[in-house]
């Protein structure tokens, strides 16, 4: 009985101390539309704190790297065809705000287009004096729109080599998600 009580106290303390507590649902959007089609989706932002959380929205074109990372890329850009409403809003204390995303499938485009919808909270208030590092948190919603009838394969591979076992040779498009960087690498590719 004592242990759950301690755990509960710790949890409540962590909640009380939290400076940021934001949740995004859904975590990403994958849509299929015919060229020229239009769709509107609703995304929910939830604030787990007892104070309101002002958020702003920005759109960024991106693509997935062979390692599965999100990397800024102007190619296959969905952002010009995506409208977010509202672009700035406040999530009430322990409440939820809804954001509408309207996508128009551009005629003439092919395959899958992508755009990252970034929800950013303002920097937290700080004291004065000294050297300070403050944090401003962001949540990114990856949005993918595939134009029906123009789908492209996500993986290209061919059989190569000699002998009894012929290995699959992945093309540059293929790749497994990476969890760790190469040794001695402080940072990785991505957005």
């Amino acid at each position: 009985m004592k242990r759950p009580l301690v755990a509960l106290t710790g949890l409540l303390l962590a909640q009380a101390l939290a400076q940021v507590n934001l949740a995004l649902s859904p975590a990403r959007l994958e849509l299929v539309l015919p060229p020229g089609g239009e769709v509107t989706e609703v995304v929910r932002l939830t604030n787990g704190l007892d104070r309101e959380e002002p958020l702003s929205v920005a759109l960024r074109p991106f693509a997935l790297t062979p390692q599965g990372d999100v990397a800024e890329s102007p190619e296959r850009n969905l952002c010009p065809h995506l409208t977010v409403t509202p672009t700035a809003f406040t999530v009430p204390p322990r409440g939820t705000a809804e954001v509408r995303l309207t996508m128009k499938a551009p005629p003439g485009a092919e395959g899958t287009l992508a755009c990252l919808v970034v929800f950013t909270a303002g920097p937290r208030p700080t004291g004065l004096g000294g050297l300070r590092i403050t944090a401003s948190p962001s949540l990114g919603l990856a949005v993918y729109l595939t134009l029906r009838g123009t789908e492209r394969p996500a993986l290209r591979a061919k059989v190569g080599g000699e002998g009894k076992a012929l290995p699959l040779l992945p093309s540059p498009l293929a790749g497994k998600p990476r969890e760790r960087p190469p040794k001695g690498h402080g940072g990785g590719p991505g957005l």
């Binding site: 649902s25 920097p123 004291g127």
Partner: protein, 203 residues
């Protein structure tokens, strides 16, 4: 004969009704979710602080770093020949802990936390600020094997799960500040701040 026919019809009707009654609708609603929680949002390096004795340290990745204070800075000026990394004097929001805690809660397999951008610039250079992410529990792995300048890459991945990242993952976030004995500090001193944008996404 007529009675048997009526009984048969009644039986068939009841069977048909029974089939209707056996039809159920099961609705499942599981929204995907991505949640970010931070406690510390303000790391202070105060080399004019007189409340510390200069001997207080913070262990970062197994290495002790002296907390920034006037006493520690004077000791640095007295003995240093090159550079020294200092831990913050204090943090806001941690309840006394010497590190910030970042929690990711999600039902997605893949996610990444990175420093996406830095607002502001320090006179001594933003490269003087180092970051170290240490896994406490949950999924994924840290990308910082040692304290790494926040300008080492842009964006700078701190930790991520490439697969199987579902659940609650907790990481400690440390910042250090590098002082150089050759720094020529302006007469007015340095009171500056930068804002680091912490970015969570699931591709």
């Amino acid at each position: 004969m007529k009675r048997k026919l009526v009984a048969l019809m009644a039986l068939l009707a009841s069977l048909s009704l029974a089939q209707t009654a056996d039809s159920h609708t099961v609705t499942v609603n599981i929204p995907s979710v991505l949640q970010l929680t931070l406690d510390a949002t303000d790391y202070l390096f105060n080399f004019a602080d007189t409340s510390l004795t200069g001997t207080e340290t913070v262990s970062v990745g197994g290495t002790p770093y002296t907390k920034a204070s006037q006493a520690a800075y004077y000791a640095f000026l007295d003995t240093a020949t090159s550079t020294q990394d200092f831990a913050p004097t204090s943090l806001t929001g941690t309840g006394g802990a010497d590190y910030g805690t970042v929690t990711v809660r999600t039902n997605r397999a893949q996610w990444t936390v990175k420093i996406d951008s830095i607002s502001g610039s320090l006179t001594l250079g933003n490269n003087r600020v180092k970051v170290f992410a240490e896994k406490v529990s949950g999924k994924g792995a840290s990308w910082t094997t040692t304290p790494t300048p926040i300008t080492a890459a842009s964006p700078l991945t701190l930790f991520n799960a490439g697969s199987g990242g579902q659940g609650r993952s907790v990481y400690r976030l440390y910042y250090l500040f590098t002082m150089d004995i050759n720094d020529d500090i302006p007469l007015a001193g340095i009171n500056e701040q930068i804002t680091v944008n912490l970015f969570l996404t699931s591709p």
